[in-house]
């Protein structure tokens, strides 16, 4: 039993986690004919909490409750994995490590860079850009694109839909520009 736990606690190689993520597609289809997707959950939250008479939010979100259960599960699963099944080590490319070092980022023990993404710095310019603006772009962009990495890049591509490929390429273009030009500019602040 201890050996199994020891094995699970190591970081998993991509060829284990990738196929497992892919299996979420048939799992949700077989559980109840649900299309794999996460960003819609934020639309349902809007529809449930502040529909404000906007037609985009006028539908019965209770029919989509499964999606909210799914994301609640993600939160709990991540808590379990992080608390009991992880050694909190991550092997990052040394080039990136030395680049981030220049911006004062040296702590790799969390999923986000602790030096910049924390409550204390939330209301600094850097914090607002990294947390508030970044989050806003994720929510606005995924809804405008009608899906995110799960709905388009995994589910849509798996079902061989060309619009999903267009969306995925757009995600990558935005990401490349952002990571190479915008993020370094923010980190320099």
């Amino acid at each position: 039993m201890n050996e199994i736990l020891e094995f699970i606690r190591q970081p998993w190689p991509w060829w284990i986690s990738g196929p497992l993520i892919g299996l979420t597609v048939p799992l949700l289809l077989i559980l109840g004919n649900k299309p794999f997707g996460v960003s819609s959950s934020m639309r349902h939250i809007c529809a449930a909490c502040f529909p404000a008479n906007i037609s985009f939010f006028k539908y019965d979100w209770r029919n989509e409750l499964w999606n909210l259960f799914f994301v609640a599960g993600i939160l709990v699963g991540a808590f379990i994995a992080w608390t009991w099944l992880s050694d909190h080590q991550i092997a990052i490319n040394p080039e990136l490590v030395s680049e981030l070092n220049k911006y004062g980022i040296t702590d790799y023990h969390q999923l986000v860079p602790r030096e910049d993404v924390n409550w204390r710095d939330l209301f600094t310019i850097k914090g607002i850009l990294m947390i508030v603006v970044g989050g806003f772009l994720v929510g606005f962009g995924t809804r405008y694109a009608d899906g995110c990495t799960s709905g388009h890049s995994i589910m849509g591509l798996s079902n061989l839909q060309w619009p999903a490929l267009v969306a995925t390429c757009s995600f990558m273009v935005g990401g490349f520009v952002s990571a190479n030009f915008i993020v370094p500019a923010i980190l320099k602040l």
């Binding site: 991509w14 990738g18 196929p19 497992l20 993520i21 892919g22 597609v25 048939p26 949700l28 289809l29 077989i30 794999f36 996460v38 934020m42 939250i45 809007c46 906007i54 259960f69 994301v71 599960g73 993600i74 709990v76 699963g77 991540a78 992080w82 099944l85 992880s86 990052i92 490319n93 080039e95 999923l111 986000v112 924390n118 850009l129 990294m130 508030v132 970044g134 989050g135 994720v138 929510g139 606005f140 962009g141 995924t142 405008y144 694109a145 009608d146 799960s150 709905g151 890049s153 995994i154 849509g156 798996s158 839909q161 619009p163 969306a167 995600f171 935005g174 990401g175 952002s178 923010i186």
Partner: protein, 140 residues
Amino acid sequence: MRLFISNLKYLLAGLLFGIILVKGEVVSWFRIQEMFRLQSIHMYGIIGSAVITGMISIQLIKKFGIKTVNNEAISIIPKKYHRGFIYGGVIFGIGWAITGACPGPLFAQIGSGATVVIVTLLSAIAGTWVYGYLKPKLPH
């Protein structure tokens, strides 16, 4: 209450997915920076092998007419293309690299104890709302 029980299975599915996201380091801001700097194969390997697995699964479901656990037919409704896939896609990509998270990983980062990401999530929900508000005026 019935609604609650009938949806519990999706909580379990999400729980498994959340464990995989953390163990696969898909939710790590550092891995996302690496990916967009072409410094590691990790994320490409994950997305690529996930798509291949999903593709094979859907083909098998279609070929053998596999039904849901409640014996209902499985049908996938394709999303209708509009120009927002490009505009919104680029906007999301920019946010993805900044936060190191697409929507699923936002929930996972919070679960891992990075509680300030709650603000990121609330802001993403606000972004979703603003899209709904502006939708009639945006090019599609």
